[in-house]
C-alpha cells in the first residue's frame, strides 16, 4: 500500500485539573446531618455511656451509682475471665484460618466459572442472609441434633454417633457456616481482578497447581485475604448465640460473658469494662490488618 506520512506524534500529556475540596459550603453539612445524627445517637453515644459505666461503681442491685474507679477492669484479671478471653481469641483464630482456607478454595472455584454462573453462585452465598441469624443457628440444632438427618444417616450406615449438639464441633461448624460468606466476598473480589493470563504465564513458566497459587494467585489476593481475616476474626469475638445454643453454654466466648455480666450477674460496670476490652482488641486487629496492607502496598 502507498504509505502516507509516518504518524509519530506522541499523545499529549494529560493534565488533571486539581479538584476543589467538595465540602466547603453549608449545604453539604445540611445533607450530612441526618447521617451524622444517627451515628452520634445510635453508635457514639451508647459507646460513650458504656465507656463511662466501665469506670463507675454500682450498688448491690447492679444500678450504676457514678463515681470513678478502675475496680471493674482490675476484676477482669481474675483467671476465669482471662481464660474466657484466651479461649475466645483461640476460637476466633481457628475460625478465621478455616474460613480463609475454605473461602480461598471457594473463591478460586467461582472465578473460574462463566460470568453468569459466577453471579448465580454469589447469589446462593447471599441467600442465607435473608433469614435471621438466630433461626439459622436453630436450624443447625435440628440438623446435628437428636433425630436430625445426620444422626439418622449415620445410624443407617451403622455408625454409632452421639448427638452432635451440644458440642465444640457443632460450635465450630456453625461459626464457619456463619462467617464463610463474609470471607468469600473479599477474596473473590481480589481474585476476580487478577488477569487470567497471569495464571497461564505461571503454568508456562513451569508452575504446577500449588506453585501457581503459592507464587502468583495467593500473593495477588492478599488484600482480599487480609480483609476477609478482619471480617471474620473481629466479629467472631463478639458472637454469643452460637456457643449458648450449640455448645450447651459450657465454653463461653467473650460475647457470652458480657451478656452474662449484664443480665445474670447484674454487674453493669464489669460488663461495660469487658465490652471496652473487646472493643480495644477489635480496633487492634483492624490496625494490624491495615498495617499489613500498607506494608504490602509499599513493597508492591
Amino acid at each position: 500500500m502507498v504509505t502516507t506520512a509516518a504518524q509519530t506524534a506522541k499523545p499529549a500529556t494529560v493534565v488533571k485539573p486539581r479538584r476543589k475540596p467538595r465540602i466547603q459550603n453549608g449545604y453539604a453539612w445540611l445533607l450530612l446531618t441526618p447521617g451524622l445524627l444517627s451515628v452520634l445517637l445510635l453508635a457514639v453515644w451508647p459507646m460513650v455511656l458504656v465507656g463511662r459505666n466501665s469506670f463507675a461503681t454500682s450498688d448491690q442491685y447492679g444500678a450504676v451509682t457514678g463515681g470513678f474507679t478502675f475496680e471493674s477492669y482490675l476484676a477482669l484479671f481474675d483467671p476465669v475471665y482471662a481464660k474466657t478471653m484466651g479461649y475466645s481469641l483461640g476460637i476466633a483464630a481457628i475460625n478465621t484460618v478455616l474460613c480463609l482456607i475454605i473461602g480461598y478454595i471457594v473463591s478460586n472455584y467461582i472465578v473460574a466459572q462463566s460470568p453468569q454462573r459466577q453471579s448465580l453462585l454469589l447469589l446462593l452465598l447471599i441467600v442465607p442472609f435473608w433469614t435471621d441469624f438466630l433461626v439459622r443457628t436453630f436450624a443447625w440444632i435440628t440438623l446435628l441434633g437428636n433425630g436430625g438427618p445426620i444422626l439418622w444417616f449415620a445410624h443407617l450406615l451403622g455408625i454409632p454417633l452421639d448427638p452432635l449438639v451440644p458440642s465444640q464441633t457443632a460450635v465450630m461448624l456453625a461459626l464457619i457456616y456463619a462467617f464463610l460468606p463474609t470471607a468469600v466476598f473479599p477474596i473473590y473480589a481480589s481474585m476476580r481482578g487478577i488477569d487470567p493470563s497471569l495464571k497461564e504465564a505461571a503454568t508456562d513458566l513451569g508452575c504446577g497447581w500449588w506453585q501457581t497459587h503459592a507464587r502468583v494467585i495467593a500473593p495477588l489476593s492478599t488484600p482480599g485475604i487480609i480483609g476477609a481475616a478482619l471480617l471474620t476474626f473481629v466479629p467472631t469475638l463478639g458472637v454469643f448465640v452460637i456457643p449458648v445454643l450449640l455448645g450447651g453454654g459450657k465454653e463461653l466466648l467473650v460475647g457470652n460473658l458480657i451478656v452474662t455480666l449484664y443480665t445474670e450477674f447484674r454487674n453493669q460496670p464489669m460488663g461495660a469494662a469487658l465490652s471496652m476490652v473487646l472493643l480495644v482488641l477489635m480496633l487492634l486487629s483492624i490496625a494490624i490488618g491495615a498495617l499489613l496492607l500498607k506494608a504490602r502496598k509499599r513493597s508492591a
Binding site: M1, V2, A202, D204
Partner: protein, 381 residues
C-alpha cells in the same frame, strides 16, 4: 468435516509444510484440528517449523492464529491431530513440561514482583542454583538492554520496557521454542519499528525458534525466515517472504500481502492465455493445478509491476483503459484505471518518472496499460 485430505494448498506448495529428510523440525503439527462447539476454528493442518527459524503466522483477525499457538503451548487441547516438539510427541503433556515459552500479547508480567524477580521466575520455579540464577537473569536483562532496571516494579516501566521484560522472561531458560502472539500490538508505530529490528537481532543472537503471530503483513515480511498465511482456520501458503509476495498461491494471499490488482478472467486451459472480458487474451503465468477451460479465474498483478503510458508502447503486449483517477502522493502518482468491461485496477508511477505526456492526461482519457507475462499470475477463485 473430518476429512484430512481437505486442503487449500496446491500439491506443489504443500511440500513446504514438511521439512527436508533427516532434519528434525522444532515443531511438527500433524492433522491438527480445533473445534469450539460446531465451529471448526482450525481446519486439519500439517506444518513443520524448522530449528532456529523465525516463523510467522500471518492472517486476519479471527482466523485462528491464537488458537493454533495455544494448542502448541498446551493451553488448548486439539480436537484431533498430534504435536511433536523436537521429534517427540507432546500430546497430553501439560504446558509446564513443554520446552517452550509464550510471550503474551498483554505481556502478563507479575505485578507483585520486580523486573528481576519476573525474569528469575522460571529459574526459581525449576529450582536452579541461586548463583546461576543471578547471572543468567542479568544476562537476559542485558540482552534486552534493561541491565540496570532489575529492581524496578513492572508498573514503573514504559510499554516498550515491559515488552522487553516479557521477552527476557521468555528466553532466560533457553527454551527450544518461543511463541509470540502479536507482541508488538500494544506499541506505537515508532516503537514497533524499533522492536521489530530488536526482536530479529535477538532471535539470531540466542538461536531460538520463534513462532510469531501477527496480522501486520509488513511486520511478517520484514522479520520472517518463512511465513504461513492463515485464513479461516486454514494455511493457504507457506514460504519465504519473497515467495509469498512474488508468487502468491491464492487470490486471498495476493490481496492480503501488499496490494494487488485482481482482474476477473476466464481460463483457456493449460498453456493458453486467459481471457478478460472486453480486452481479450492477457499474458499471465499459470500456477499450481491448471484450471479447466471456461472456469472463472483471476489474474493478479501487483500495481508496481504494471506500466502505463499515454501512447502505445513500441514493443510487447498492451491494452487500453480509461483513467478514472490520478492522485498525487508526493513521491509517486497513483492512477485508477477502468480496464475492459468490468475491471478496475490501480498502478503507481514514481513522481521522478512521470513524463510530460502522462502528466497531461485527465480523468476520462484513454491510457495504455501493460505488464510482463511473468508478473501476472492466474489464480483460482
Amino acid at each position: 468435516m473430518t476429512s484430512s485430505t481437505q486442503t487449500a494448498m496446491p500439491d506443489s506448495l504443500m511440500a513446504d509444510s514438511r521439512a527436508g529428510q533427516g532434519e528434525t523440525p522444532a515443531v511438527r503439527l500433524t492433522g491438527i484440528t480445533k473445534t469450539f462447539g460446531d465451529n471448526m476454528v482450525v481446519q486439519p493442518l500439517d506444518l513443520d517449523i524448522r530449528q532456529n527459524e523465525f516463523f510467522s503466522i500471518l492472517g486476519p483477525s479471527g482466523c485462528g492464529k491464537t488458537t493454533l499457538m495455544r494448542m502448541i503451548t498446551g493451553f488448548e487441547t486439539p480436537t484431533d491431530g498430534s504435536i511433536e516438539l523436537a521429534g517427540s510427541s507432546v500430546d497430553g503433556l501439560p504446558t509446564r513440561k513443554r520446552d517452550l515459552n509464550m510471550l503474551f500479547q498483554s505481556y502478563a508480567l507479575f505485578p507483585h514482583l520486580t523486573v528481576f524477580e519476573n525474569v528469575a521466575f522460571e529459574l526459581r520455579v525449576r529450582r536452579e542454583p541461586k548463583k546461576d540464577i543471578t547471572r543468567r537473569v542479568q544476562d537476559a536483562l542485558d540482552l534486552v538492554r534493561l541491565g540496570d532496571l532489575g529492581e524496578r516494579k513492572t508498573d514503573q516501566l514504559s510499554g516498550g520496557q515491559r515488552q522487553r521484560v516479557a521477552l527476557a522472561r521468555a528466553v532466560v531458560s533457553r527454551p527450544a521454542v518461543v511463541l509470540l502472539d502479536e507482541p508488538l500490538g500494544a506499541l506505537d508505530q515508532q516503537l514497533r519499528k524499533e522492536m521489530q529490528i530488536e526482536l530479529k537481532r535477538m532471535q539470531r543472537d540466542v538461536g531460538i525458534t520463534f513462532i510469531y503471530v501477527t496480522h501486520d503483513q509488513e511486520e511478517a515480511l520484514s522479520m520472517s525466515d518463512r511465513i504461513a498465511v492463515m485464513w479461516k482456520g486454514r494455511l493457504l501458503q507457506i514460504g519465504s517472504p519473497q515467495e509469498i509476495y512474488d508468487a502468491p498461491a491464492t487470490e486471498f494471499v495476493a490481496s492480503f500481502i501488499g496490494s494487488c490488482n485482481i482482474i476477473p478472467a476466464i481460463s483457456a486451459g493449460p498453456g493458453n492465455a486467459p481471457t478478460v472480458a472486453g480486452i481479450g487474451e492477457v499474458p499471465a503465468v499459470e500456477v499450481g493445478a491448471a484450471e479447466p477451460v471456461g472456469s472463472h479465474v483471476s489474474v493478479a498483478v501487483r500495481p508496481e509491476r504494471m506500466s502505463v503510458s499515454a501512447s502505445a508502447p513500441a514493443t510487447g503486449w498492451s491494452t487500453t483503459g480509461t483513467l478514472t483517477e490520478a492522485v498525487y502522493l508526493g513521491h509517486e502518482w497513483r492512477y485508477g484505471i477502468r480496464l475492459g468491461s468490468d475491471a478496475h485496477v490501480f498502478t503507481t508511477v514514481p513522481s521522478t518518472q512521470l513524463g510530460p505526456e502522462l502528466g497531461a492526461l485527465r480523468t476520462g482519457d484513454s491510457i495504455f496499460v501493460s505488464w510482463a507475462e511473468k508478473d501476472a499470475r492466474v489464480l483460482a477463485e
